[in-house]
């Protein structure tokens, strides 16, 4: 009986396992291996194992290119962090409001949150470019009211607006799931015991919705840290993020080992961050 069940389990799991192996495990291994190889002019790698790529990444040098690279590295994490915080501040009240609506209104509002997914990602970002352009929609409206124009396009603010915009649904949905599960009579219990609204939020609501906050933050932070399209289009190449640097290594610079090394370091840092996050979550759950 048990062997039969195991056989069924193996059959059911094999498509997923195969998919993961071919499209996740193998490419990751490939990148890991490439990062220890040498660059070949005109693309590809030379099969000589070494640490050249990592040394280039970590050696203190006056090479302005490398300094740029470190700045971009830090900037990517900083912006991912900012995006996560802004998304959280916007999404929490929104998810709370949605969760408090009657069921029919609730599904309609959730539908509105998800509607942007129906339009191509690139099209949406280009739409933002037209909104934020110097002669774009926003500035047309501003000048119609005789207000000063804003030079937003190709600035960090434009990139941040774009990053928040693309990430918002990924924060709203997990937050909604976790707020919707909450027993709202706990608010009354808190008020009854002498806690004001702020204390009720801090001591009851916030810790109980922590799983949603963590899930949403992870879903926002990771893709944003590696974003390529948004900084390219809204930053106009002037405000690069990690994604841009990676594209440069595999594209114009044709330095595959160095690009791989960046990927590996990036992955390790993100994994450390996620593990730290889940540790917090587990401590909350105890």
């Amino acid at each position: 009986m048990t062997t039969r069940r195991k056989a069924y389990l193996a059959i059911l799991l094999s498509p997923g396992a195969l998919w993961l192996f071919v499209f996740f495990v193998l490419p990751t291994l490939l990148i890991l291996i490439y990062s220890f190889l040498e660059r070949r002019d005109g693309g590809g790698v030379i099969w000589n194992f070494g640490m050249a790529a990592y040394l280039k990444l970590f050696s203190p040098t006056n090479d302005s290119y490398i300094n740029d690279f470190l700045i971009i590295f830090l900037r990517s994490f900083w912006w991912a962090f900012l995006t996560t915080v802004i998304c959280l501040l916007i999404s929490y009240p929104l998810a709370f409001y949605i969760a408090r609506q009657p069921p029919s209104t609730r599904s309609f509002l959730l539908f509105l949150v998800m509607i942007p997914f129906w339009t191509n990602f690139l099209v949406r970002i280009y739409a933002w470019k037209f909104i934020l352009n110097n002669n774009g929609l926003l500035n047309s409206i501003l000048s119609a009211f005789n207000l000063p124009r804003l030079a937003l396009i190709n600035t960090p603010i434009a990139v941040l607006i774009g990053l928040v915009y693309v990430s918002l649904p990924f924060m709203v949905l997990p937050l909604y799931a976790s707020i919707g599960k909450l027993d709202f009579s706990l608010i009354e219990a808190g008020l009854d015991l002498g806690a004001n609204y702020f204390q009720v939020f801090r001591r009851i609501f916030f810790p109980l919705t922590m799983p949603g906050i963590i899930a949403g933050s992870v879903l926002v932070f990771i893709p944003v840290a590696g974003q390529y399209v948004v900084p390219t289009i809204l930053g106009g190449g002037k405000v690069a993020m990690l994604g841009n640097i990676l594209a440069q290594q595999f594209g114009p610079d044709l330095n595959w080992p160095f690009g791989s090394a960046i990927s590996v370091v990036f992955m390790i840092l993100l994994m450390m961050g996620i593990l730290f996050y889940f540790r917090i979550e587990q401590e909350e759950a105890i």
């Binding site: 027993d183 009579s185 706990l186 009354e188 219990a189 808190g190 008020l191 009854d192 015991l193 002498g194 806690a195 004001n196 204390q199 001591r203 009851i204 810790p207 109980l208 909350e284 759950a285």
Partner: protein
């Protein structure tokens, strides 16, 4: 001015009708209550009668549409729930799932900034009081329903509120545990000398624990009295019917005497002592009498104040036997007879002609 724990003066609470398009619904309709300090006061009524709304008005979760509530003689309309000197034991307990039992109980003291050593001591005391020591570090999900109920109780009383509000706190417990908790709650209330305002739909529970009961129906308070008066002298037909079992006999007043009235019930003369003034000859009245106050006798000779009928149903209940007797007037009455005669207690059979009698002071007059 008399010192009241809680006073409700002409309180009305209406809720918007919502999408149904009907008029606003008055959950509570012009009610007045004065609750003494240290009293065990029960709001009793069927679901939707407004008893929970009344409790929520006192707690501050709802605002009255009209009228004023006083807690310890202070008007509280403008005071938010977190500043009122009351605490609530919720029907579903509403324990904080992410906190331990000890943290749950300490919650109210923590937000008030009570010193830590005092918190520890008071948490221990109140957990001892509800007989739940040694569980401080458990999570609520690891407790049984009865234990959760005690934690909810401890979490409220640890704050030493002047009034404790209890919203059907025993509703989710099984019968045996509920019975035990009823007595325990009553002991606790006496021991603490705290004012309890208790909401229930269970009339037996209300009779067991209360000093006074307010019977509510459809947003109105029908009668406020001690359990004995509520049971023995119900003011309205609803009260008589809702609390315990009652028989109702419709009749017409034949004569109003100095201390009683003579009523014609389907051709039989029946006497009833009454306290309501203003009854007149020829007026329709309903008489009510409890099943255990009725006596059954074999049919031989006729007496005043007796009705003739046929036994239609016999239910043996152990301590007593319940007879359903069909009267000549087509009405039926229920009679409970204590089984004091051993195995010869059930003296009648279905189809027997019987005489139903009572003491005149046991039958009450309700105005139709």
């Amino acid at each position: 001015m008399t010192n009241f724990a809680v006073q409700l003066c002409d309180i009305t609470k209406t809720f918007p009708a919502g999408r149904s398009g009907r008029n606003d619904v008055a959950a509570v309709n012009h009610i007045n209550l004065s609750i003494q300090p240290g009293e065990f006061f029960t709001l009793l009524g069927p679901s939707g009668c407004g008893k929970t709304t009344t409790l929520r008005l006192i707690a501050g979760f709802e605002q009255p549409t009209q009228g004023e509530i006083f807690i310890q003689n202070q008007p509280v309309s403008k005071i938010p729930p977190y500043h009122r000197p009351v605490n609530t034991v919720f029907q579903n307990y509403a324990l904080f799932p992410h906190l331990t039992v000890g943290q749950n109980v300490a919650f109210g003291l923590n937000v008030k900034g009570v010193p830590r050593h005092e918190i520890e001591q008071r948490v221990k005391e109140s957990l001892d009081l509800v007989r739940l020591p040694d569980l401080e570090n458990r999570k609520p999900s690891q407790l049984s329903g009865g234990q959760q109920q005690r934690v909810a109780l401890a979490r409220a009383i640890v704050n030493r509120p002047s009034v404790l509000l209890l919203d059907e706190p025993l509703g989710a417990l099984d019968l045996k545990l509920r019975k035990a908790m009823q007595l325990e709650l009553k002991h606790l209330q006496t021991q603490l000398g705290m004012t309890f305002i208790y909401v229930t739909h269970d009339q037996e529970e209300a009779l067991t624990m209360s000093d006074r009961i307010a019977v509510m129906n459809e947003g109105l308070v029908l009668q406020i009295d001690d359990p004995v008066t509520i049971y023995e002298k119900p003011a309205t037909r609803f009260v008589a019917d809702f609390i315990g079992e009652s028989n109702f006999l419709n009749g017409n007043i034949d004569a109003v005497l100095s201390d009683k009235i003579q009523v014609n019930v389907a051709g039989t003369q029946v006497f009833s002592y009454w306290t309501n003034n203003g009854l007149k000859r020829g007026q329709d009245v309903t008489l009510t009498v409890r099943p255990e106050k009725l006596k059954l006798a074999p049919l031989n000779g006729t007496n005043h104040g007796t009705l003739i009928g046929t036994v239609q149903e016999i239910v043996y209940l152990g301590t007593d036997t319940r007879y359903l007797v069909g009267l000549l007037s087509q009405e039926t009455v229920v009679i409970r007879v204590q089984n004091v005669g051993g195995d010869r207690s059930v003296a009648f059979a279905i189809g027997d002609q019987v005489k139903v009698s009572w003491f005149p002071e046991d039958i009450r007059t309700l105005i139709v």
